[in-house]
Symmetry: C2
Subunit: 331 residues, 2 copies
DNA sequence: AGGGGAAGCGAAAGCGGTTTCGCTGACCAA
DNA sequence: TTGGTCAGCGAAACCGCTTTCGCTTCCCCT
């Protein structure tokens, strides 16, 4: 019966103005008298007019869509950043087009052509952490590119990522605040950028307090079994250790097992702090936390990336998201 | 220098045919001689022509975009389904527009209007599991709506979700295959649909083997501390229990702690199996698994939802994804 | 009173395709 | 031959909105 969908010309007709005037009035662009503008707007409201977003995008040459390139979308960290960015973008009526595993596709060119055909408004590249750099793709697009949870080798790339230096500092600061002084560190590969920076900044923080590691830093892997193995070794070698800063929650979980197996109480004898905040990622609820950890701020990274991408001119360079200590039972 | 972007009329001109002929030739629609079609196609390739996806969508009235409604995008389960669906859709050049927390927004109407303005091609509703139904929104859209990881009260809604009945069965079958006969069950609230169905189907499976629960089913909450509390009680009451089917991995983790605290070996004295496959969700690596669990198939749900939504006429009703037992150290 | 500038609005072009419709010519049967 | 079909192609309309450009008015200054 009633015209199912109201178009701009309907509004123009009803308001007794031209199509172009109606367009300008609704968009607030160009010179239009306040009276006309108001009149058009109220009639539009009265008719229940809604812009045809598709046509609109088309005319403007922008698609209201953001391209997202990932290394592996099923990576748990990637998923968090992705969901968070998508939420933020959705709130701004921006769709996302996900190209999984296209970051280092040997033929990224194809993805890029597809994105250009789509008239993508911008690109988000989601990495898998700060352990290794991601290749820079900025110059291959003619739209803004922003990097999340990774870093590139081009210092001018717009990047938002976690702050490994600060992670090391806040972890140690937390342990110190709990009165611990004999602190050990178990972490991943010695050539892993994130592991190295966390270890180095932690050491600096200790030095500021006039301390040093209570045992040599154990470099290994980002795995639970390594955490158990290394913790056992640490306790055997330095029985007076009263806290272990673990490079990740996986390592911390293994360490806890070993510490308990060694007959020490957690956190009575030995405090443990991890990094990643897995429990939050899993439970989605604030209750029943167990492991004290450092949240690297993945959701915040996703939010900020989405926000910055839409800004006119984001400042180039790396922007760090502050890590947060999440206190629980192990300290 | 060279025309930066090739348009269809360029192709038509180069091929010496009209714009409309070129369009038809490339789309394969309408009557076109094979020779002409081929000629147009090769010239298009030669020029490196790519459709302007935006204009194309516009002309066709479809946006190549899928609307996604979630209850809470930061829920870990939701994130998995979302990432999986987005990956699948991205491979098919479909973008997604995420409306978080809009499933039961008191004013869903607004979201719906926005989606319609966008000429969304379809809608995916991602729920947070089979514990409770999601309101049906199908009738409010004029495009296909599909429900993932939840169920509605309308039996005609197209739904893809996990199979609680089968979860109970495979869990018990697995324990039986490990030679266990004294099986207990710890799960969540007695009015939780998922908990109830898993418990009921598990009981049936036991009955088929001529068995029954070795201890009364413990209903409680989906939480680790409940798992610990209930497991302790089970062991105290029925010391001969040799396996516990836990309604979730969180419960299983708590149960493991309690079993060990009671001096029993896992899996020597007591086998444990959970549900959810958290470790997979976290580690993103196959190594160092600890807990035996039932994977409910979230990624598969995401994939199927994406695939089915694009099909011409998906069959109405609930379609279940088969759960998979993931064997690890606790059985 | 006359001239110039700017505000306000509409006609029309354009965006890049798809699709309807009508025209031409070939082929076939009578 | 002549009339009727139908395949193949192009002209033109159309999708719904934005934006350029030019035409009126109106106002103000001299």
């Amino acid at each position: 019966m009633a015209k199912p969908v109201i178009t701009l010309s309907d509004v123009a007709a009803a308001a007794g103005v031209s199509l172009s005037t109606a367009s300008k009035a609704l968009n607030g662009t160009d010179r239009i008298s306040a009276a006309t503008r108001q009149h058009v707007r109220t009639t539009a409201d009265r008719l229940g007019f809604r812009h045809n977003a598709l046509a609109r995008s088309f005319a403007r040459g922008r698609s209201q869509t953001i391209g997202v390139l990932t290394h592996r979308a099923s990576n748990p960290f990637t998923r968090v950043v992705l969901a968070s960015a998508a939420t933020e973008l959705g709130a701004k009526e921006q769709a996302i087009l996900l190209y999984d595993a296209r970051i280092d596709d040997h033929d990224v060119t194809e993805s890029i052509l597809q994105l250009r055909a789509r008239r993508i408004d911008g690109v988000i590249v989601i990495g898998t952490g700060t352990s290794f750099p991601t290749p820079s793709l900025t110059s291959r697009f003619d739209v803004p590119v922003i990097y999340a949870f990774t870093y590139t080798e081009d210092p001018d790339d717009v990047t938002i990522t976690s702050d490994d230096d600060e992670i090391g500092r806040v972890a140690i600061r937390h342990l110190l605040s709990k009165g611990r002084r004999k602190i050990a560190h178990i972490t991943a590969e010695p050539h892993d950028n994130a592991a190295v920076r966390r270890a180095a900044s932690a050491k600096e923080m200790l030095a500021e307090a006039g301390l040093e590691w209570a045992a040599p830093v154990r470099f290994g892997r980002w795995r639970e079994d390594w955490g158990a193995e290394a913790a056992a070794a640490v306790l055997a070698e330095s029985p007076d250790v009263d806290a272990i800063f673990c490079g990740s929650d996986a390592i911390a979980r293994g360490a806890e097992r070993a510490v308990r197996a060694a007959g020490r109480d957690v956190p009575g004898d030995v405090s443990l702090i991890g990094v990643d905040n897995w429990e939050e990622l899993m439970h989605d609820q604030r209750d029943s936390r167990h492991l004290t950890t450092v949240d690297v701020g993945l959701e915040e990274i996703g939010r900020q990336v989405a926000a910055h991408l839409l800004e006119p001119d984001p400042k180039p360079g790396i922007q760090y998201v502050a890590p947060q200590v999440v206190t629980a039972e192990t300290t």
